[in-house]
Symmetry: C2
Subunit: 419 residues, 2 copies
């Protein structure tokens, strides 16, 4: 554990350097920014020996610390994954640049007011031990004319240092300040809290992580924040549902990747179809060894444990599904609006009126009719890239692409107008 003052000083130095570097970078042309991203991809390929060596050190430390197989897997960088990271850079380079576009109005007094898209400034990201996020986040921020301050998980610190060293070298070689991409070296909890307090230096903080991180941000942050990732998602099977579709979507939404935020945690079933649907769902999920926790009626049909109040409130991120039988669409909507984190909610129905009521009355970033919640994703939505999935209502909601990394800037031009 380092001295807290030292950590604050280090974090402030990285943030201030990024902010200062940003001023001259903000108005870089799209052509130059895209070339920079391609050069970063080339740089990473050239530096791969150093990157793999750093990653091997991280993996050794992680194994010694006994971290889970899943986390080890996410931490691992190999030829294939590095090449995936590089091709993602080329993909971001190819996306349209939102910066500089705008709409002009001329006011009756002759003032020309142009609302333009401008970079936000300095974007800070706190994330876990996934090295690809280091490069993705840097690419999305650089593409939109922003500086970025990265604070990754401690398990990946050597890998992140190697990746950022490579990126900084390309920045310098191309005449940009290497401080445009800052890495917080300390992975103590204090360095995250320090970042949350950098008012005036950090224009937005995007935390990507679990409940603990989000809670810490809510308690501590003095800088503007976009909350991401909390996903207590539901699927409601209406009385009129196509039951084959309902089972297919339920299995996909729960079992295709239970660890992610767009997977469902609770299934709500209309009482008219519960006797048919639930046994068939149980059969369809045998191979996943899915654990059910049901309300009284659901538990009686499924022969499973009873859910308690905390189950409705839990994002399992695992092969566990809470199940509740409801008497009506209203009861389903009430349940969802009570427990939902506002991420992704779905209904399976053949009834148009019910579909419309569901989409208008459910308060969530993405509301689905007859499709799996698993599609809430920047790539699947056609944004080409994603810096996170916002579960708040301000600034950005749902998958955040390049546009979410921009802000308004009004340019007002006159010939001496006074008011």
């Amino acid at each position: 554990m380092q001295d807290t003052n030292k950590i604050y000083d280090d974090v402030r130095a990285v943030c201030r350097a990024a902010k200062n570097a940003w001023r001259s970078y903000a108005s870089t042309s799209t052509t130059k920014k895209d070339q920079l991203l391609c050069d970063i991809a080339s740089g990473l390929s050239k530096d791969k020996a150093a990157i793999f060596a750093a990653n091997a050190a991280d993996l050794e430390n992680a194994r010694a610390a006994g971290i889970s197989a899943g986390m080890l897997d996410r931490l691992t960088l190999d030829e294939k994954r590095l090449s995936g990271i590089c091709s993602a850079l080329f993909d971001v380079a190819k996306l349209p640049d939102p910066i500089g576009s705008g709409t002009r109005t001329t006011r009756p007094n002759g003032l020309q007011i142009t609302c333009t898209r401008a970079p936000i400034g300095t974007v800070a990201i706190i994330y876990e031990a996934r090295p690809n996020v280091t490069v993705d986040a840097a690419a999305l921020c650089l593409k939109t004319g922003n500086a970025v301050v990265l604070r990754g998980g401690k398990e990946a610190i050597n890998t992140n240092r190697a990746l950022v060293t490579s990126i900084k070298k390309v920045l310098s070689d191309n005449g940009y300040s290497p401080n445009l991409v800052g890495l917080i070296e300390s992975t103590d909890r204090e360095s995250s809290v320090a970042l949350m307090n950098m008012r005036g230096l950090i224009d937005v903080l995007i935390p990507r992580g679990g409940k603990g991180l989000i809670r810490s941000v809510v308690e501590n942050a003095k800088v503007p924040v976009i909350e991401t990732g909390a996903g207590n998602c539901h699927l409601f099977v209406d009385a009129s549902a196509d039951l084959d579709m309902a089972i297919s979507v339920a299995v996909n939404a729960k079992c295709s990747r239970p660890s992610v935020c767009n997977a469902i945690e609770t299934l709500l079933v209309h009482r008219d179809v519960c006797e048919k649907l639930l046994p068939a769902l149980k059969t369809a999920t045998v191979k996943y060894d899915l654990e059910f926790r049901g309300c009284g009626r659901a538990a009686a049909i499924l022969g499973c444990a009873l859910a308690d109040e905390s189950d409705w409130d839990t994002e399992y991120n695992d092969y566990i599904l809470a199940v509740r039988v409801v008497d009506s669409l209203d009861e389903a909507i009430d349940h969802i609006n009570k427990y939902s984190t506002g991420h992704s909610e779905a209904i399976i129905t053949e009834n148009v009126t019910n579909a419309n009521r569901f989409t208008s009355e459910i308060d969530a970033a993405a509301v689905y009719v007859n499709a799996s919640t698993r599609f809430t994703d920047g790539g699947e939505f056609g944004f080409g890239a994603e810096i996170g999935i916002s579960t708040q209502k301000l600034h950005a909601r749902g998958p955040m692409g390049l546009y979410a990394l921009t802000t308004d800037k009004y340019i007002v031009s006159g010939n001496g107008q006074i008011r």
Copy 2:
């Protein structure tokens, strides 16, 4: 001073009631919402005797408490002002409704993804003793399908209670929940802090007030916030400026209404024109009894007191102007980016290159070329109404009209798609 727990309970009850009322109001049609606003205007006219009586009580208390003439004036409601409030309601009713518009894309897998504008939910506003804000804020929120929780200044509590009573009656008479417009009865500081902590009940908090309120929000808020109003604005007179235009704009930007956030606080002058400009400016502002505080060079020309570091950082809101002579455009840009609150910044120049550098390198919501900063205002920008002027970069920047009270909602429609 009331008991803090009681205040929290009362605030929570108002917020929860507003949130519950919002669910069924969110999808109200534009026609019905506009009719509601017109009915509220009629209701206020009908209830004017009660409103004026309440306002008289507030004014009596305020006089007894010895508040300033300016504040007494802002607190006063008379026939003319109430009629202005009512016509503002009709104006908001006439504005286009952003809710429900959207853009649809069809993905290769057939999923139809529609990004719609949706109400935010429950909007809370903390403001000072200006009764017109009570009605304006309610109107803008109701027009955009939101519920609103109002926490006005203590000097206006009787007036606000009378206004909200009238509005609630119209809501009830039209079959809406009166809880859509909530008034926090306690005007203790604790009730503001309680509002800042209503996570899950308040979707956005908009503080409208001075530095003290903004600081309290930054320290205490756990709900999403849009900061408004801090305006340390600058005017830079370039070497190539039309000096008559420069003086006209400077006088307007400083003296037309010094108490508002879009007035300038510091004038920066290029050294090549300072000998000519400053004496002429001094003459032009004699009738305002404008006080100058200058850097060494400016003070020598103006014969005024020296400015110290704190002057560059101060929003005077008064007939005081800090003046600094700079050697170059770069020095002006550096000064502004160091001290600006990111509100409104202006340059007077005949040089296109300098104008473009200023607009691209200055980091502010509104950047002006050859016009007064006083135009940063929802009405002047053509938004028809304004809930505040955002000085942050997230969600909304600059004057906030109806659009700033909406959020994204993705409606995804399929025929059984899984991932």
